[in-house]
Symmetry: C2
Subunit: 186 residues, 2 copies
DNA sequence: CAGTTTTTTCAATATGTTCTGAAATCAGTG
DNA sequence: CACTGATTTCAGAACATATTGAAAAAACTG
């Protein structure tokens, strides 16, 4: 209650940074990246690495590495501070664009690889059936595998659309999806 | 090429299972859960734990734990096999419903917690400003923090809608989002 | 309900990831 | 271009997570 503004800000940053850290960690990034981004995002001025280290309780090395990652992903950038010796960093603020870029670079690759690999698996079974027609286990597996492949392709389209346009609607493909869920039976 | 159907199936399962393992691992589950689900999903008959262990190269213990998780999440279930001593397991096939349930139980909680914590941080700053009106750093931080809170709330709504209805459209809220991205300046 | 097989549990271990601390490198400045 | 301070790098420590292996528990079967 009767705390200084400085103390209040510190507490607020701590709460927000830890929360964001959890979220990005869940998302496959280092928690410290989320913490640092939040710290920068909530600062009215760019901060140098040593201040970041001090406020996040991280070593200089860890801060350097996390900043490197943040710059790589375009989640933070260097800010020119007039007569400053140290480099100063500031958070990218266009959260929407950040999310889109990350999704494009990570999820899209991941799902793309999945499509390729499922395709290969389908091919393996098709070849096998060509040589040994009528094998029931193989036929069953092929059917299901085609379902997985279809699902992966749908996922790819979804993610791609989201990354490109920033919109994400399932409606056009719900028919295909509900078909998929609804059994190539057991 | 000239392999037995059995060999072909084994190769196809391996490819598909590893792929799915990667995907679910990226998603925060154990890779072995994805591998086992895929193995079951591609089998025409339910499989007992020892067969799963043998085909996935996991120990009996690991299989038991992974199956436990799969059952918990409703991603697999026990199948009654007539005169069988061992328990047999089979994959849940309604992929769509599985994804929805997982999102509801995990993402929704995660984002919900974020909303709570950002709210608390906002409260902290509001209190501070009540006692120390006009502090510029605090004002700046409060503004940005409100942006994060708004974003988290939007995310919550999105995830909730997706979990409930299975549809996911950003259109209704794009105004709010683009506003957010477009700067409470630096 | 005793014997047998299956399943679960859990401490120890293996694996993978992030962080530290200090040395090496790099960048400004006089 | 040498000096000072800032930054990066990286081997090892700390930490987190997944798996093993074996013992305990549970579930069948006769």
């Amino acid at each position: 209650m009767n705390s200084t503004p400085e103390e209040a800000r510190q507490r607020a940053v701590g709460l927000a940074a830890d929360t964001m850290g959890e979220i990005v960690a869940f998302w496959g990034f280092k928690a410290s990246m989320g913490r640092i981004w939040t710290l920068l995002y909530l600062s009215s001025d760019p901060l140098p690495a040593d201040v970041i280290a001090q406020r996040t309780q991280l070593s200089a090395g860890a801060v350097s590495m996390a900043l490197h990652d943040l710059l790589q992903w375009g989640i933070a950038d260097r800010a020119m501070v007039p007569g400053a010796r140290k480099r100063h960093y500031r958070a990218a603020t266009d959260v929407w664009a950040i999310v889109r870029r990350i999704i494009r670079q990570r999820e899209l690759r991941l799902v793309g690889r999945a499509v390729e690999r499922f395709s290969e698996a389908v091919r393996v079974l098709e070849d096998s059936l060509a040589n040994h027609p009528g094998d029931p286990s193989t036929q069953f597996m092929l059917q299901r595998l085609r379902g997985l492949l279809q699902l992966a392709r749908i996922g790819y389209k979804l993610v791609e659309g989201f990354a490109d346009v920033g919109t994400f609607t399932l409606d056009p493909i719900r028919g295909a999806l509900s078909y998929f869920g609804r059994e190539q039976h057991a």
